[in-house]
Symmetry: C2
Subunit: 120 residues, 2 copies
């Protein structure tokens, strides 16, 4: 089946829940996802992969153990594999995520915020 | 060395040449690049990998053999591996590209538009 054009805002308009990434495209064995974030996530790391955050709207803080990374619209950050991080959004943030398919959002932490990735 | 925040517009402000992707980040063995496009590229394909285009500014047409794909700001398209394509931008386009490190921009076509990817 041929790929379709993905309009990120149109995809974001389809859901409202937070911390639940939705897959909008696949690039080889990587997932391209959009997510809405508000509040504080859980501290976790991904031992086997880097993770890319690109902010589309809002102000995102990615807390690391030794500093905070601040991202606004049009800014991206790659969390290196194995690095503990905890995203925080005081107001709602819309972001694009890119990471290998099958990565669990809560990494090594697990818990109630663990989400199943759906296509949207 | 810890990763840095990447501001896409600030990176785009650093160069003016067209069809010469600049790497702004790495995600595992993938490159995240920004590029300025104007005019028509060459028809080519990448036999081993998909290629993601996310338009930041302007209107991009990705010509395929059977149709044209039109992308505006905030829209992305993944060209499947092996699919011949030829990007065209009647006015300047700024875009983000994601693909495995080492992919040659002109794919199987080669020629004078073949660019070496620099970090920026």
């Amino acid at each position: 089946m041929p790929n379709s054009v993905v309009d990120l805002q149109a995809k974001l308009d389809l859901f409202s829940e937070h911390w639940s990434p939705k897959r909008v495209a696949q690039l080889n064995d990587y997932d391209i996802k959009v997510v809405k974030l508000q509040g504080e996530f859980v501290w976790h790391s991904h031992d086997d992969t880097d993770e890319l955050f690109l902010v589309i709207a809002g102000q995102l803080t990615i807390q690391l153990r030794d500093r905070d990374v601040h991202l606004g619209p049009g800014q991206l950050y790659v969390v290196p594999k194995g690095v503990e991080h905890c995203p925080r959004a005081d107001e709602e943030v819309h972001a694009l995520l890119m990471e290998p398919a099958g990565v669990v959002n809560t990494g090594d932490a697990g818990g109630e915020l663990t989400a199943t990735v759906e296509d949207i």
